[in-house]
Symmetry: C2
Subunit: 188 residues, 2 copies
DNA sequence: GCGGTGCATTGATGTAGATCAAGAAGTGAT
DNA sequence: ATCACTTCTTGATCTACATCAATGCACCGC
């Protein structure tokens, strides 16, 4: 297999992403602009000059790309207490779409690159997220990747349709269906 | 295919690695302990309580794991001007072997976790290395991963045997051989 | 010279997961 | 209740790469 359908890989090839959990909730009660987002609402479009950082307070966002066939490919999930923003800087338009998988509330702030690259704890969090992703990508078989995923994100498994998990794992929904069948057979 | 032979993936599943280029050469002429390493010499063994950081000044190191069949699987190359160390901390033994692919000289220093996690530029470098690795891992097909590899590491392509590049790419030497044949046919 | 020893190539065959296609089962709108 | 729409499942076939096995080829010590 290709790890990802070729189309997704091509779409993923240029972008990077900042994604990390909130380090503390010192800001949570400060009176900042809170946005309510309804399920399906798009917060950022690929190709836009994005300057926003989204801090999820409740609900679930996702980032994804769309290939030349119009197919979506999920890059990351961002549940409550996570921060998500495209890594694009200056004049470079972002590569990713961001939308809501559930009705959500999030804090929207202007992107501040100084802050994004100066906070040591935040940088360490970003490293940890990336390392997890590398380790998951290195998990060889689809079944291993899936088992690894439900270990790390047990809640998300319940909250999104299977085809999105398949997309995140880089496999087709059909393949995930067969994997789940196999796992449930093993348990009997 | 599995992205990596299953055995390698299992070996890779727990470890992480700090690897980044030297940010400046301010230290290069300071009288620090310089170690000459001959080709094949092992600097670190999996399972040891490693406390060393290796700064490559000339030559080429690699980090790798060994699976239960005794097969080596290359995790990263570290040519001159790169720093390499296992991410293990405290009482946790490291997961990786490190050895020299060429006669090398390197500076060996005690691992200083405070330093490894406090230098902002260094953290950003680590993020960049990880992002490159993620993007490479996401490149779907073996041929795409190989083309991406020779773009990023043109020198290393010339300096190490093919089977090691195959190992880094997560494919077999046979597959790499066929890929190279195909590419040379395309060019004719 | 000559026989190792390790690496690259080539062929044959096996397998995980993609792709295509056809149901089945759930959900919402009229 | 019925129709449309989506998700999940299941089967058939295809493809990229693994695995196994044989051969070629360089470099080495003798």
């Amino acid at each position: 297999m290709p790890l990802l359908p070729a189309s997704q890989a091509r779409a993923a090839l240029t972008h990077t992403l900042t994604l990390y959990p909130i380090l503390n909730d010192r800001n949570r009660n400060r009176k900042l602009k809170i946005t309510n987002v309804v399920k399906g609402q798009i917060l950022q479009r690929s190709g836009e000059l994005n300057t926003k950082v989204f801090t999820v307070q409740s609900g679930l966002l996702r980032s994804y790309t769309i290939d030349h066939k119009g197919k979506e490919h999920i890059y990351m999930f961002a549940p409550e207490n996570w921060i998500i923003t495209d890594n694009c800087e200056g004049d470079i338009p972002c590569d990713l779409f961001i939308d809501a998988l559930e009705d959500s509330t999030c804090r929207v702030t202007e992107k501040d690159f100084e802050k994004l690259t100066s906070d040591r704890k935040l940088l360490i969090k970003r490293i940890n997220v990336l390392q997890k992703r590398v380790i998951m990508l290195m998990s060889s078989s689809a079944i291993e990747r899936y088992e690894h995923f439900i270990e790390i994100y047990p809640e998300i498994t319940q909250r999104v349709p299977q085809r999105m998990i398949a997309s995140y794992l880089g496999i087709t929904p059909e393949a995930l269906s067969r994997i789940r069948k196999e796992i449930s057979n093993e348990k009997v």
